[in-house]
Symmetry: C2
Subunit: 331 residues, 2 copies
């Protein structure tokens, strides 16, 4: 296993400690609950926004905590839902008079943990609402999920509700907004390689040297099909078409385009995908006015990428323009 | 080869086209010279700053073009110096009354290309000065370089002179500033895996499943030694110690700490390295006040990382705080 790791059991705690050490003014690490939170949260003048999921998807979600984004993230171990008592304790710590918003990617384990955590916290008179993100068009009702999966499009939900919460939006309004963003967001991804969970020490699944997995899940779940490796253009055309035809996005639409790397793919390759996708959309009269190229929601060291589209309007443009202060930056 | 690629010969042009398409308001791609430049450059009120190097190190340097950073970057093909006529044409296009600054990482090929390009441009009465970056402590006067190599620490040189040039600093002052930043910056990196250049289609060098290369160069050049894989803590301790003892940095110093990923390493692992490095520096009384964790100067899809330190002072803090508008962002 070619990884920077000490004790695989300490992989997540050591990462969280590093994130907090690198952002001492803005982020706090609470080891008891695997929790990264803003140092200035909770704030009774704003709804607290929490996301929990498995680890191994970084920057999602522990590096999306900060002003204008999440107030806290309580990840589980690599590719494992957070324990429900972590969800409960995180919700208690972040309790605000305006309420607490749980954002959950649509996986059975995450939903169960958040349902139980919510029930415990509501018994203590904390007001909680939930948004389910299910932007992945690849598969529906697979062995691994009920309904569609939540993947990189989740970042647009976080960005919009994070910005609106800073403006003082109510819990009810945030739920409506988040659901609206989710409803205009579509994503599909694919894998060139498997990934290696630190505790397993070997690839999660086998993929031949000349094969790729179209529609792969961010935990290595099977996608639509396995096929022979194709060119960058053919791959991005298929990912894009799956998104465009699903909503559908159509001529005259203004969209955000995200090319998300899955962890092991260099950004040079992501821009090759971006260039093709932007040209293909332009040829269909779909106008890309916001571009996001980089790593948002990864699968450890998997080589691969996903394409996301969001249909924009004046409100979303305003919210996406608002400041977001997160841990990840280059300068 | 598990890569997003169409024609390997078009790898760099397709990437550059993608970068420009994603940043239509701020960046322009000039295909004739493999050039990415600011749309608002040149500007006779500021020195134009140009960096050229091989491609395959992205974000360096084509994604470091923008206000407060580079005015243009003219990369060569993957791991190949830019042709000298590209340097010449780029310099002509960016010519400013205040002069043109060439920032060159210290490799024989890059130096030759820039020397020749400079000579041609000076014959046309363009005033040019040069900064050589050589922050890599790993090796000196190897088969591949004369003197030390320039690697990720280069970003601090770009950031400082980029900010100062926006304030109207003279060419002479920028040279002094850039040399000063380089003189207080030290870097060492290591590889867990090789990388695969698109045109080669196979790994650049062989590294056993249980081996790592300490002090590797960003083009896969040999480092100090090849040895058995070690823990994350042992690896970062060695990289850090090589930097700390070289300047040396000592108790009471205030520093910037960069953990740079080499392309194939997920950011989760980089934060594990960061946490250990920050603690080790604290135990030596060296205070980390600026943190940079992510990908800055990569080697295609190589798994690995480098550690950089910069000794800070009031002037550098002010320049590092200044705005920098580059292509890479998450939100």
């Amino acid at each position: 296993m070619k990884k920077f790791v000490n004790d695989p059991k300490q992989f997540v705690p050591e990462m969280l400690k590093g994130i907090a050490l690198a952002n001492p003014d803005t982020l706090k690490y609470v080891p008891e609950y695997n929790l990264i939170m803003r140092t200035d949260a909770p704030n009774d003048d704003k709804v607290s926004i929490i996301q929990g999921s498995g680890s191994g998807h970084e920057p999602a979600h522990v590096m999306a905590v900060g002003r204008g984004m999440l107030d806290a993230a309580c990840p589980g171990d690599v590719f494992a839902a957070p324990p429900s008592d972590y969800v409960y304790e995180t919700t208690k710590l972040l309790a605000s008079k305006k309420g607490v918003l749980h954002i959950i990617n649509n996986y059975t384990g995450d939903r169960m943990a958040f349902d139980m955590g919510r029930e415990l916290a509501e018994a203590e008179d904390i007001t909680i609402a939930t948004i389910l993100v299910d932007d992945d068009v690849a598969v529906k009702d697979s062995l691994y999920t009920v309904g569609r999966r939540g993947v990189a499009g989740n970042f647009f939900v976080i960005k919009a509700v994070g910005a609106a919460s800073e403006e003082g939006a109510s819990l009810e309004d945030l739920v409506a907004l988040g659901n609206r963003v989710n409803s205009v967001t579509r994503t599909m991804g694919m894998a060139l390689t498997s990934c290696t969970p630190p505790a397993k020490g070997s690839p999660l699944f086998e993929l031949g040297d000349d094969e790729m997995e179209m529609g792969v899940g961010i935990h290595g779940e099977p996608g639509r099909r396995r096929e022979k490796l194709a060119s960058a253009n053919d791959i991005v055309d298929e990912l894009l078409d799956a998104c465009v035809t699903d909503l559908p996005y159509s001529s005259g639409d203004e969209v955000a385009l995200m090319i998300n790397g899955l962890g092991g793919t260099p950004i040079s390759e992501l821009y090759i995908l971006y260039g093709r996708a932007a040209e293909q959309l332009a040829s269909q009269g779909i106008k890309v006015t916001r571009s996001y190229v980089g790593e948002y929601c990864t699968s450890l060291d998997m080589a691969g990428a996903s394409v996301s589209l969001v249909k924009l309007d004046d409100e979303l443009n305003r919210l996406f323009d608002a400041p977001a202060e997160v841990a990840v930056r280059i300068f």
